[in-house]
């Protein structure tokens, strides 16, 4: 039993897979952190990621290049985010319901658009990302192949996490975003345009969620399958909470969820007798416990989920 476990946890394959599974979560959670810090919650992340997955796949298919596909995917995510932004900022509708509506609508829309364009024939394999080993860094024992022999999107995400952390804590804009999420009225009173800041954060979130979506269609599977994001948009919401709204911690939390997914797959394959569902449910249990326990010291933005209406 211990041999099996150690085989499980100390194999490069497993760790590399964990990173691979974690990075779309990390990318989307960075986006969601920025949006939530500004006070807007995106239940519709799942929809944005799906849009990104389809957009990325279609971009790669018609334009022949995965990087162009990435741009298309990001744009798709941003468009969905713009709709959400309009509904919850300008129209001041409920953020949760808007997000849920977008999820439902996009699940249908992505299916529909894919089928309408590609019909029911065999799924096309599109231009995609291959793992690229970073010279020197990928030679470091253990850490090297795990972290530095991945698709370029993963490296992009590493950079993203760092940029986001710096952005929030050390730039003027980051301060404004935080202010808008904590106390929009006070921010307004010093001349900050609450709705402009919020629009920007939501669209940035859409761009990053779109990018997260392309991980699936241009990174793991090289095509588009209906519902391929498999509920990970909701996991991102959990990641953000466990990470206490910090980008670097979100990367770590994403690794945990990614590892859980990898463990789940492994257990399924190995038929060990431990239910894989436990592994997959564990991150949610953890999130719940963390949320209940954190409550007092949580850094949840005070104005999260509330519409700001100037009178």
């Amino acid at each position: 039993m211990w041999i099996i476990l150690s085989q499980l946890f100390f194999s490069i394959d497993f760790l590399s897979a964990s990173v691979r599974f974690a990075m779309p979560l990390a990318s989307a959670s960075v986006g969601e952190i920025i949006s939530e810090r500004g006070g807007i919650v995106n239940i519709g992340l799942e929809g944005m990621m799906l849009a990104g997955a389809l957009g990325g796949m279609m971009g790669a298919y018609f334009l022949g290049d995965p990087w162009l596909g990435l741009l298309c995917g990001m744009a798709a995510g941003a468009i969905v985010a713009a709709v959400h932004a309009f509904v919850v900022i300008t129209l001041a509708a409920d953020q949760v319901v808007s997000g849920a509506a977008l999820n439902i609508a996009l699940l249908g829309l992505t299916n529909f658009i894919y089928r309408a364009i590609f019909g029911i024939e065999e799924r096309p394999i599109v231009a995609h990302f291959e793992p690229v080993a970073i010279p020197l860094l990928s030679r470091i024992p253990v850490v090297g192949p795990v972290f530095f022999n991945q698709i370029p999107l993963v490296y992009l995400t590493y950079g993203l996490v760092i940029v986001a952390a710096i952005f929030i804590m050390r730039t003027r804009w980051g301060l404004e975003v935080q202010a808008v999420g904590e106390h929009p009225r006070a921010a307004d009173s010093v001349g900050i345009s609450v709705s402009r800041v919020r629009y920007l954060t939501v669209i940035v979130c859409g761009l990053l969620a779109g990018m997260a979506g392309t991980f699936f269609s241009l990174g793991q599977l090289h095509t588009f399958i209906e519902g391929m994001t498999g509920g990970r948009g909701f996991i991102v919401l959990a990641v953000v909470i466990v990470a206490n709204w910090s980008p670097t911690r979100a990367a770590l939390a994403a690794l945990m969820f990614g590892a859980a997914e990898a463990v789940g797959l492994r257990i399924q394959a190995l038929n060990v007798g431990v239910p894989y569902q436990l592994a997959l449910a564990f991150p949610y249990l953890l999130t719940l416990t963390v949320y209940i326990g954190l409550a007092g010291r949580s850094r949840m933005p005070r104005a999260l989920g509330l519409a700001y209406i100037k009178d």
Partner: protein, 371 residues
């Protein structure tokens, strides 16, 4: 008495018309967008819609499928509508559906030799309690510690799902099922029987309609129901008047969860007869659309549920027979919901009001009561 029903089902007089117009307008807008989508895919929208209408309501069999589809939607929609009246958004429907279905299946499978009029109600009750517990948890956390019920319910959705998944792939799995992972069939004494054979319509619709009636009665004719509505209408005033806000919160989430649990139960005991982990195509989320389109009143939820059930039926049929791409039903559902909340937007209403002069109703005549 019926007039009171109508009064209460559709908001005060001056808004009666508005509460009918908005859902219709939202549906119309979504159908227009859907029509554009369909025509871009190379089909004729009006032809498709006509087919859908015929499939959903044109034949007894079609009607039966529509209504059968509506059963879990009505129940889960009530499960969203009731807590909504208490000021809470219950998006934990998925988890409550699964846990409710689990409890019902357990009672169904573990009791033997009971007549149907004992076994079935017990199973239904179990389903209600299971969903109720799953709903009471976030309710309690919110009431006692102010924890946001959105986050808790989303987590519980997944935990609930994975519990069922584990059980049906593992300890509860039917040893004779090969490809699928599901439990053994529940005995006939726990199944919802057909009431209209030709349409394959099961007793679940009666359960759903009864549930709607009971929900209505609870909200408008009982003390706890009134307290829930008071809390939803103004929790500060309610507290000032002495109402225990926390208790109403937990109670509304318990009942709401229970109704969602019944939704899951109705699918297991009425259609599938076995528990599996793939029986809910997102009922918990569609329920939100059903509840809001139905203006969160039990009567409205029934109509909205029937509508969405018919929509699902029509779309499935059109997909099968006419070959329109899949995804139309979900797209329409999502669009309807989006247009609904956009239409209810306060800022939009304010903006529209600025364009027209506000019509203040003149109540200066003496108090001659017209009731």
């Amino acid at each position: 008495m019926f007039r009171d029903l109508l009064h209460q089902a559709f908001a005060p007089r001056s808004r009666q018309l508005q509460s009918l117009i908005l859902p219709l307008a939202a549906v119309l807008a979504a159908l227009v967008v859907g029509g554009v989508m369909i025509s871009l895919a190379g089909f004729k929208p009006l032809q498709i819609y006509a087919w859908m209408l015929d499939a959903a309501a044109g034949t007894p069999q079609g009607l039966g499928v529509s209504v059968t589809n509506a059963i879990p939607l009505i129940l889960a929609g009530l499960g969203v509508a009731l807590p909504f009246r208490c000021g809470l958004l219950n998006i934990g429907g998925e988890g409550q559906i699964y846990i409710g279905a689990l409890f019902a299946t357990l009672v169904g499978l573990s009791l033997h030799g009971l007549p149907i009029y004992v076994h079935l109600p017990l199973a239904l009750l179990a389903g209600f309690i299971g969903g109720g517990i799953w709903g009471a948890i976030p309710g309690y956390l919110r009431a006692s510690r102010g924890l946001n019920e959105i986050i808790v319910t989303i987590m519980l959705n997944y935990i609930g799902f994975w519990i069922i998944s584990f059980l049906v792939h593992g300890p509860m799995k039917d040893p004779e099922s090969y490809g699928y992972s599901w439990t053994m069939k529940v005995p006939v004494s726990a199944q919802l029987p057909f009431i209209i054979r030709v349409a394959r319509l099961n007793l679940g619709i009666v359960v759903a309609l009864l549930a709607a009636g009971v929900t209505h009665y609870l909200l408008w004719h009982t003390v706890p129901g009134f307290e829930m509505r008071a809390v939803g209408a103004g929790s500060q005033t309610a507290r000032f008047a002495g109402i225990r806000v926390g208790r109403s919160t937990v109670l509304s989430m318990f009942i709401g969860g229970g109704l969602a649990g019944l939704a899951g139960t109705s699918v297991i005991l009425g259609v599938q007869y076995r528990l599996s982990d793939f029986f809910s195509p997102g009922y918990g989320f569609t329920a939100i659309a059903v509840a809001l389109v139905g203006q969160t009143s039990p009567l409205g939820v029934v109509f909205a549920g029937l509508f969405f059930g018919g929509l699902q039926n029509g779309v499935n049929s059109a997909q099968r027979s006419l070959g329109i791409p899949m995804g139309v039903a979900l797209s329409l559902q999502g669009l309807i919901l989006l247009f609904m909340i956009a239409g209810q937007s306060l800022t939009l209403i304010r903006w529209l009001r600025k364009k027209r002069t506000a019509r203040r109703v003149d109540y200066s005549q003496p108090a001659v009561l017209l009731d």
